[in-house]
């Protein structure tokens, strides 16, 4: 009898990989401004801030034998999700999490897609191939994906977004922004930025929108085109330095030097009023720099 029980216990604990899918629903009282840590490698994670003092997670999970779904929550913090990051063939888990708006949210995934909205605390999301979408008014955002798309549409004090091959889009009012890719394209669309740095190696950078009077924006690329589409009434001082990329003026600023190769020479010009102008610096090896009117 003892051997049978032991056998069942061991089989239950160590045998075979995946088990079936099951539905989950957990809820707990939860404090304001405390951390929620979420792991889910495959599937999806949706986190939504709400005006309640509780955390609720619903969804479907697929667990490996050694790593069941975890949910621990109290007024001081929470950790939840599938912690398994190594079992081959792990099935997708889909988590829908509601947290107090001021929560600090950390999410780690591999291929799972992540959507975060209406969280006013800080948001950190890390993925490998999963897409990341953050919106609302988070205090700070840090989002990294190797090959997944990253989209931030947020009013935030600070945004740090990185990919390698995935495209990256920024929108919103952001005090301090960093967007960095290797080959992924970067689009800054209608954003209002105080300080910004945008980097690619051969991905395109496209900035469409106004440039604030206090803005200080740096663009650096090796081979990607850098295109500005700014309103006719924009006011900004540009310093463009490109080695082989050249500068194309479609706006009509009458910069003194344009052409296919500047060999490291800088072009400086002002659009609109110089007295109330933002600062824009562009560095490129062979990416073409284009200024046009929106």
């Amino acid at each position: 009898m003892r051997a049978t029980i032991l056998g069942i216990l061991i089989a239950f604990t160590v045998a075979g990989p995946a088990s079936g899918q099951r539905t989950i629903e957990h809820r707990a009282a939860f404090g304001h401004g405390v951390a929620v840590r979420i792991h889910n490698m495959v599937g999806s994670v949706r986190v939504t801030g709400w005006a309640r003092d509780s955390i609720v997670v619903t969804g479907t999970v697929q667990e490996s034998k050694g790593e069941p779904f975890v949910f621990h929550a109290s007024r001081n913090g929470a950790k939840l999700g599938i912690w398994d990051a190594n079992t081959p063939g792990l099935g997708p888990s889909h988590l829908d999490v509601r947290v107090p708006q001021s929560s600090i949210v950390w999410i780690k995934t591999a291929s799972a897609d992540v959507i975060v909205s209406d969280v006013s605390g800080s948001v950190d999301v890390y993925a490998v191939s999963g897409r990341i979408d953050v919106s609302g008014t988070p205090r700070e955002v840090s989002a990294e994906s190797l090959s997944g798309e990253v989209r931030i549409a947020a009013d935030a004090r600070s945004v740090r977004a990185k990919t390698a091959t995935g495209p990256l889009t920024l929108r919103g009012n952001i005090t301090d922004a960093l967007a960095s890719t290797v080959s992924g394209d970067i689009a800054i669309e209608g954003a209002v930025l105080e300080r910004g740095r945008f980097e690619t190696v051969d991905g395109a950078i496209r900035y469409a929108g106004a440039i604030g009077a206090k803005s200080s924006l740096d663009f650096i690329t090796h081979a990607g085109p850098v295109e500005f589409l700014v309103p006719r009434d924009a006011a900004a001082e540009f310093v463009v330095g490109t080695y082989e990329g050249g500068f194309e003026d479609r706006f009509g600023v009458n910069a003194r030097r344009t052409g296919s190769s500047l060999k490291g020479q800088e072009i400086r010009f002002t659009v609109g009023s110089a007295t109330a102008a933002g600062q824009v610096t562009v560095r490129s090896f062979k990416g073409r720099v284009i200024l046009g009117a929106k």
């Binding site: 591999a110 700070e140 980097e199 190696v201 650096i220």
Partner: protein, 213 residues
């Protein structure tokens, strides 16, 4: 920049070694956000520790069960976990080295390129670039070794995206270096080279922490 969630958890769990623990401790001392994160994780850990213990089989069964479980399944997982932890810690140390040296170098480069144009400034810039290259090569070599150890664990799609990105960066670095040889004083080329080095190290560092799925 902030300390990521996993590392903060490791800090709370006292799983960081001396150097990294001190780096995180110093960061927390001046970062309100990470400090709040640590407080939250500590409070949660305290609560988890005080939760009622799970119902376990009788005392006479436990040693045998634990032994067999450990032998059959746990050891493999712990070994993999230890290896990943070592990898993460070494990557963090390498990153700290290059981040500090790059930041200093960038400042030196900027000040020298905006200086009075004297010969000594140019010489300082060349010497600094050389040092950057040495620092970069050392850090890149260590990170590449870490990545080689983990390569077989990573999904093919991840490896493919990673290699494509590194190849693009390498091509850019080669172009910048070649141009710099024929135009050594060009500040734009120096900036491009530095940006390429930092980008490559950043991609390598991130790759050492990828999960196996």
């Amino acid at each position: 920049m902030h300390v990521d969630g996993d590392r903060l958890q490791d800090f709370v769990d006292r799983r960081l070694d001396g150097v990294e623990r001190e780096m995180v401790r110093q960061h927390i001392a001046r970062c309100e956000r990470c400090s709040a994160g640590v407080r939250s994780l500590e409070a949660l850990a305290g609560e988890l520790a005080s939760m009622a213990s799970p119902v376990l089989p009788g005392r006479d069964l436990l040693p045998d069960i634990w032994t067999r479980i450990d032998a059959a399944a746990g050891e493999e997982r712990r070994t993999a976990s230890r290896a990943r932890r070592r990898t993460t810690l070494r990557a963090a140390a390498v990153t700290a080295l290059i981040v500090s040296s790059s930041a200093v170098t960038a400042l030196v480069l900027r000040s020298s390129s905006q200086g009075d144009g004297s010969v000594s400034a140019g010489q300082a810039e060349t010497a600094t670039l050389l040092q950057v290259h040495v620092d970069y090569a050392r850090a890149a070599e260590e990170l590449e070794a870490l990545l080689r150890e983990r390569r077989a664990e990573l999904p093919s799609g991840t490896v493919e995206a990673l290699e494509r990105s590194l190849s693009v960066i390498d091509a850019a670095l080669n172009e910048a270096r070649t141009a710099l040889e024929s135009d050594p004083g060009n500040p734009i080329l120096s900036e491009m080279l530095l940006a390429g080095y930092e980008k490559r190290l950043d991609v390598l560092r991130r790759a050492t922490t990828f999960p196996s799925l």
